[in-house]
Symmetry: C2
Amino acid sequence: MTPMQAEQAKKPALTTAFERLGTPMAFAKNQEVYAQDDDAERFYRLVSGVVRTSRVTADGRRQVGDFYYPGDVFGLDPGPLHRFAAEALTDCDVQIVRRSAVRAFAGDVEVDRAILDATRQEMERLQDHVVLLGRKGAIERVASFLIGLAQRREGGPVDLPMGRQDMADYLGLTIETVSRTLTQLQGDAVVKFASTRRFQVSDWGELEALAA
Amino acid sequence: MTPMQAEQAKKPALTTAFERLGTPMAFAKNQEVYAQDDDAERFYRLVSGVVRTSRVTADGRRQVGDFYYPGDVFGLDPGPLHRFAAEALTDCDVQIVRRSAVRAFAGDVEVDRAILDATRQEMERLQDHVVLLGRKGAIERVASFLIGLAQRREGGPVDLPMGRQDMADYLGLTIETVSRTLTQLQGDAVVKFASTRRFQVSDWGELEALAA
DNA sequence: CGGTTAATTGAACGCATTCAACACGAGTGG
DNA sequence: CCACTCGTGTTGAATGCGTTCAATTAACCG
C-alpha cells in the first residue's frame, strides 16, 4: 500500500467523526487560528486551504512546525497550551471540535481512531523533521521538502502554497539559501519552475537521491 | 508548580499502571531494547538506568531522538514500527507492557492517563527539539542540553550518563564542536567540570541566558 | 501602469566541520 | 607497579557551507 492510498483509506473515519461533532468555520488568508500559548481546548480538521504552525522565540527567530493540507488534523499539541501558533496560509475551511466533546465521546471507536491516527502522523512527521534538521544539509532539506509536496500531486505540476520565508523557517535555513538551492536544483534539471510558486519534478530519481 | 513538582505528581499513576500490567526486565549497558524498524508492540517504563533512542540513516549519519531517565516511558512511536532504536546507555531495569494489554484496558483511567501523559511529554520534547535544531547555534544547543540535565539534580553536581558522541548526535553537532563548547563554557565560568562525565553549574543565570 | 513586496543573485564573512595530532583515563598484562 | 594499549576526549589549523549584508530583478496588486 502506497502512502497515498493509506492517506485515502483513513480519511473517511476522520471526516465523519469531525462532521458529527465539529462545527465549521472559515479563516481568511493570514488569519490566526490560535496563538502561541493559547489554551489548547479544541482540535481542528482542515477541509480546504493550507495552515502553518510556528513558534517565535523571545529574540524573534521563527521556526515553522509544519504545514497542514485538506484532510489533516492539527492543533493536537498535547499540553494544556498550544506551543505553536496556527495561521491560515490561504483562505481556509476548518471543522472545529472541542476537546471536552472528544473526551465525552471517549471510547467511541471512530473518534478515538481519528485522534489517534492524527497523533500518530504528527509524531512521525516530528521525528522525521528532527532527523532532517539535525543531520541533513541544505540540498537534502530542500529536496526532502519538495518530495513531500510533490507526492501529494504525483505527476503533474505542484503548487507551493507558502513563500520562501516559510520554507526557510520550516527547514531551518535562510531565505537566500532556499532560493539558491532551488535555482541550483533547476539548473541541474531536477525540477522545473513555471513560476516562483509552481514547479514540476523533472528527474524524480535524482530528487530522491538528493534528499538522502 | 515547577516542572520538578509536575514530574513528581504524575509518577504515581504511571508507576501503578505499569506495575499492574507490566513485566520487569533488565538490560545490560549497550544492549538494544528494540531495533530501528522493529514492530512497535510494547511500551516501556524505565525504573533505573538511562536509555537512548536513535535513528541511523542509510549513509551512516546518526540522530539521537532523546534520552530517558528513571520514571520516563519510552517506545511510544505511534506507527506500527519503531522509527528509532532504543539502547541501554547504562545497566537498566525496565517494566514492559504489551500494547495489546493496554488496548484491552482501554477506558481504564489509570492506563489511559499513563500513556496520554507520556505521549504529551514526548511530543513537547520533540517540538522543543525541532526549535533547537532549526534555530539555535552551538552554544545555545549545548547550554540548553546542560540545563535539561541539571534541573533534574538542582544544586549539586550533575552526572553525564552519555559520552560526547551521544551529545553531538542529539544536538545535531559534531563531537569536536561539543567538546570545544564545553571547554568554552568552563572557561567563561558558567559550568565547572570535575571530570569529563561530571559537572556543576557555576552561573545558572548566565547558562540560561546562553540557552536563549 | 506605478508602487510595493517577494525572490534572486552577488560578495564577504563566520560558524561549525573536517582532518589531524595530541592528551587523558581505564583496563590489561608483563 | 609500571608499561602498554585502546577508547574517549581535547585541541589546532584549514576548509567549506550556509549566513549576512547589499543590490538587483521579478511578481503582485492597487
